[in-house]
Amino acid sequence: MTRIFDPIALLGRSTIAFITVLGELGLFTAAALAGLVRPPYYPRNIGRAFADIGFFSLPVVAMTAVFTGMVLALQTYTGFARFDAQSAIASVVVLSLTRELGPVLAGLMVAGRVGSAMAAEIGTMRVTDQIDALTTLATDPIRYLVTPRLLAGVIALPLLVLIADILGVAGGTLVATLRFGFNVSDYLRQTLQHLHGMDVASGLIKSAVFGFVIALMGCFFGYRSRGGAQGVGAATTSAVVAASILILGLDYVLTQAFFTI
């Protein structure tokens, strides 16, 4: 009994558990990636996952992008007015959206919507023996369930972010022209004037990484679910929390790599 409350033993157990999970995650990722280079492939599953991650996430990502663009224009105007720098609104909005807010906010929204659903679906399959059933039916569960979702995540999220970038700029344009009286063509010209290809590309590369992370966390925590409904619930929470933290952490790492080297 005393060992349970021994802080050193607790630290040791936690460290071993963490390293074990990291090891499992490494093997899981390797097995899923192996499915990309060796058949069988499951195009129907890729299509379904692409629809789930991409098409059905479009409304929530679009609304997030529009409102973010609108708020950004509003905040920038009121802040920059103190320095008579209102003309920089267009550049600030488009650079903030393409480099940072588009990929991060879309990633967080998709992590909440799709990562949780993946963990719940695969977790339920685990606790109802459906994953074991796949194995008995000559099907590798990781290649069948995980590889298509990873691939769909990597493809769908950049497309979502591209749409989010456009809609975010549209939201900013709306506020700048209707609320602050900017001329539409001038605003859009300023938007494009300071926008470089790398600004958009870096956001799209970030979002591809985030798409991979969201799908990986959803699948991984779902796949190792145990213990019925409670286990599936815990897996869902873990998937969303892990994906969200990884998105924010990787965002810093990738930003550092893109813009400071």
Binding site: D129, Q130, T135, T136
Partner: protein
């Protein structure tokens, strides 16, 4: 392969989860074309036994021979080929929610590329007929079926590839007595028609008597008794007698208290 040779032979099979020893040097032989029912209380390792044979759980020690070849030491491709002979009916059906009934039934055939997708639906309807289901259920989702129908679809999926070996995990769990008897009848028909070797695990004695050519009792990680269904209710073994008659007091309870 003669009729009486062992299709499946299990030797010294052991499996522990943490400090709990579930299988402890278990030995078991199932002759070709026979149906063995393994009985035993909840948590005695019946499902673990099947999962070890299927390769879903890795045993700690022992040998699992199918057609005389050890699937635990065979090269992966060979082990896969040996295990491909097995059709499995899971306790709760384990039907895939995202697939229709006919896609569930022919899932294994499509995965093994033994059939084209265009022929699969017709094949599924033919197999569904063997378990008493009509064409109307083929395009439904598993969630739209009753428990008994789901069990039939799961049975159809298990037999669709004409497997040489069939496993049944608690085939009558969750069903009313009449539907349980219907499922048992279908199982016996399918096993006979295919000439399969089968292992069923259950703690439903009526079901065990209907399905099995032989009954074995698993207790404390080992097979403690094996005999014909006619002998099981008067086996002379105090563990088996307590279990089959459902007595509260006896050596099994004493063992649990130990």
């Amino acid at each position: 392969m003669t009729q009486n040779s062992a299709k499946i032979s299990i030797q010294g099979l052991s499996k522990s989860f943490g400090s709990k020893k579930v299988l402890d040097g278990l030995d078991l032989e199932i002759a070709t074309g026979t149906s063995l029912v393994v009985i035993g209380g909840s948590g005695t390792g019946k499902s673990v036994l099947l999962k070890c044979i299927l390769g879903l759980i890795e045993p700690d020690a022992g040998r699992i021979l199918i057609d005389g070849e050890d699937v635990l030491t065979a090269p992966p491709e060979r082990a896969r080929a040996l295990r491909d002979q097995i059709g499995m009916l899971f306790q709760n059906g384990a039907l895939f929610d995202s697939e229709s009934v006919w896609e569930n039934v022919t899932f294994g055939l499509l995965a093994r590329k033994r059939i084209s997708r265009t022929d699969a639906r017709a094949r599924a309807i033919s197999v569904l007929a063997q378990v008493g289901l009509t064409e109307q259920v083929a395009d439904l989702s598993p969630a739209e079926l009753s428990g008994g129908m789901q069990k039939r679809v799961a049975l159809a999926r298990a037999i669709a590839a004409d497997p040489a070996i069939l496993f049944f995990d608690e085939p009558t769990t969750g069903l009313d007595p009449i539907m349980g008897a219907v499922i048992d009848g279908l199982i016996v028909d399918c096993v006979k028609r295919l000439g399969s070797t089968s292992i069923a695990i259950t703690h439903d004695m009526a079901s065990a008597a209907r399905i099995g050519d032989a009954i074995a009792m698993l207790f404390d990680g080992k097979i403690i008794w094996q005999g014909p269904p006619t002998a099981v209710m008067a086996s002379g073994n105090e563990f088996v007698d307590q279990f089959t008659h459902g007595r509260r007091d006896g050596p099994i309870q004493m063992a649990l208290r130990r």
